[in-house]
């Protein structure tokens, strides 16, 4: 029963929207209609316009994510190994982390131009800190006695890292990947909003400036598709990989 209601909720919502729009209960000039948004999305995708711009956004997102994740992970491991450096840097890193990074977007435009590079740098700054802070936090949750036991049994540093460090870090890295990908997409879009010549954010902002509501909404539909394409497989993978851990994280 619950499943049926759950599955019916979305079609019912869209149906009500469509019907009340057609009956004139809603101002369609403001909200548009599901059917016309769908038609516009199909038209924009079919013309190849949206595909090209989506590819640009995805490239910014993926490259920025990879660069940010790798550097963040490395710096996190280094900081984890040197307590003095960690204690010295953490308050500064936390302060930088608390600046709304999208606020840096105009500065990056000034430094790196309106093209690909300024978006890439913005994405890197978002993803880097997520990985860095998660890795440092994850390393700190490792219980000292586990390490001590292994040491007592004569394990080398590398073995300790293999047996305790990496298994402990995996859930943290997974969480960082989820958050990092979401932030990477946001960074790319925001960068494009602020100034760009290509990308999904550019298309949407361009449509908004021409008061083309359906153009904006078709961009939002495509973006939702991208988000779902990322979130659903990752959540499924997380449930499989970390089933043993579910209770702990609650």
């Amino acid at each position: 029963m619950e499943r049926i209601v759950q599955a019916a909720l979305l079609p019912v919502f869209i149906g009500t929207w469509e019907v009340s729009g057609r009956l004139g209960w809603l101002d369609t000039r403001v909200l548009s209609l599901p059917s016309s948004i769908a038609a516009r999305t199909v038209a924009d995708v079919a013309s190849g316009l949206l595909l090209h711009h989506t590819a640009v956004t995805l490239a910014e997102m993926v490259l920025g994510f990879l660069a940010g994740a790798l550097t963040g992970l490395l710096c996190g491991l280094v900081l984890g190994a040197f307590p003095l450096a960690r204690h010295t840097l953490m308050p500064y890193l936390a302060a930088i982390y608390s600046i709304p990074r999208p606020a840096l977007a105009p500065l990056f435009v000034l430094w790196f131009g309106v093209g690909f590079l300024s978006k890439l740098v913005l994405v890197v700054t978002l993803v880097y800190f997520v990985f860095l802070l998660h890795v440092v936090a994850g390393l700190q949750t490792i219980e000292a006695r586990h390490v001590d036991w292994l040491r007592t049994l004569g394990a080398s540093r590398r073995q300790v890292l293999q047996r305790v460090g990496i298994p402990h870090l995996l859930p943290w890295l997974f969480a960082s990947t989820k958050l990092g990908l979401a932030l990477a997409l946001i960074g790319a879009i925001v960068g494009e909003f602020i100034s760009s010549r290509a990308g999904l954010g550019f298309v949407m902002m361009h449509a908004a400036e021409n008061l083309d509501r359906e153009g904006v909404l078709s961009g939002i539909v495509v973006l939702s598709g991208v988000v779902m394409g990322i979130i659903i497989p990752l959540s499924a993978l997380e449930r499989r990989l970390f089933r043993w851990q579910v209770d702990v994280r609650l």
């Binding site: 003095l84 204690h87 608390s98 606020a103 000034l110 909003f193 908004a208 979130i231």
Partner: protein
């Protein structure tokens, strides 16, 4: 460990001084053109200039107003909606996937839509802050119910607690840490929403100041704006933590991490 603590403090102070001196020095020595990175003294001078001319505080006030309005509206809507959706178990199970998917959607992408709806008025910025905050608060409140154990309710019932007593003794204390943790996150989100709204369309606010600085290739002004944002972010975090400490509210690890 006192020696370690003092070494940490020494290293921290040395680091910040070295960074500032290195920045200033490399500009003075002509290694880097101040056009790109400005310099600490240039930024301080520009901040003073803007302050004296009365061109800084009105922007700060504008951003704070947008941020606080968005935060208040987001909490005012988000907490009740979260309570309604979360309180009844079957409803909670039905809407849960929708809440999670909506939460994962980048709300920032709604900016162009708001631009069409609201134009460049104050409401655009408040709406941005609101839409970032409201989902955090809905999900936070909603998730709090998941943390209430059936045993607690059963124990309460066995001891003869009324519904009202159960709500007061079990439900509310279980929800407070969740709502508070979401609130702490929301403060930063509201600031971000306000500033992004200002980037997109405005004539006032810190975002406008930064945007204007970039438009005029005036990096010192850009850094003054960024410093103002940093101060607001740090001050509001400190204030929230202080209140939490005062009220002895614990924070929780939010399971579905929030994205803008």
């Amino acid at each position: 460990m006192e020696t370690f603590a003092t070494r940490v403090w020494a290293a921290r102070s040395a680091l910040i001084i070295a960074v500032l001196l290195g920045w200033e020095g490399s500009v003075r020595a002509g290694l880097v053109n101040p056009f790109w990175i400005s310099s600490p003294t240039l930024i301080a001078a520009q901040a003073l200039l803007l302050l004296r001319a009365g061109e800084l505080l009105p922007h700060v006030r504008e951003t704070l107003v947008e941020m606080l309005l968005g935060l208040a509206a987001g909490c005012g809507v988000g907490v009740p909606v979260g309570l309604v959706l979360g309180a009844v178990a079957p409803v909670r199970r039905v809407v849960e996937p929708y809440v999670i998917v909506l939460n994962a959607f980048p709300k920032i992408a709604l900016a162009p839509l708001y631009l069409v709806w609201f134009g460049i008025a104050l409401s655009l910025k408040v709406a941005m802050a609101f839409s970032l905050v409201v989902f955090v608060m809905i999900l936070g409140t909603f998730s709090g119910f998941g943390g209430i154990r059936q045993e607690w309710i059963d124990h309460g019932r066995l001891l003869g607690a009324s519904r009202l007593q159960l709500a007061r003794v079990v439900v509310v204390p279980a929800l407070v840490p969740w709502i508070f943790t979401s609130f702490r996150l929301s403060v930063g989100f509201a600031l971000m929403g306000a500033v992004l709204g200002e980037f997109i369309a405005t004539q006032r606010g810190i975002g406008y100041l930064i945007d204007q600085g970039v438009g005029m290739f005036d990096t010192a002004t850009v850094f003054v704006g960024l410093a103002a944002l940093l101060l607001i972010a740090l001050a509001s975090n400190a204030a929230t933590d202080w209140v939490a400490g005062r009220l002895r509210i614990l924070t929780v690890q939010l399971r579905n991490q929030q994205v803008l």
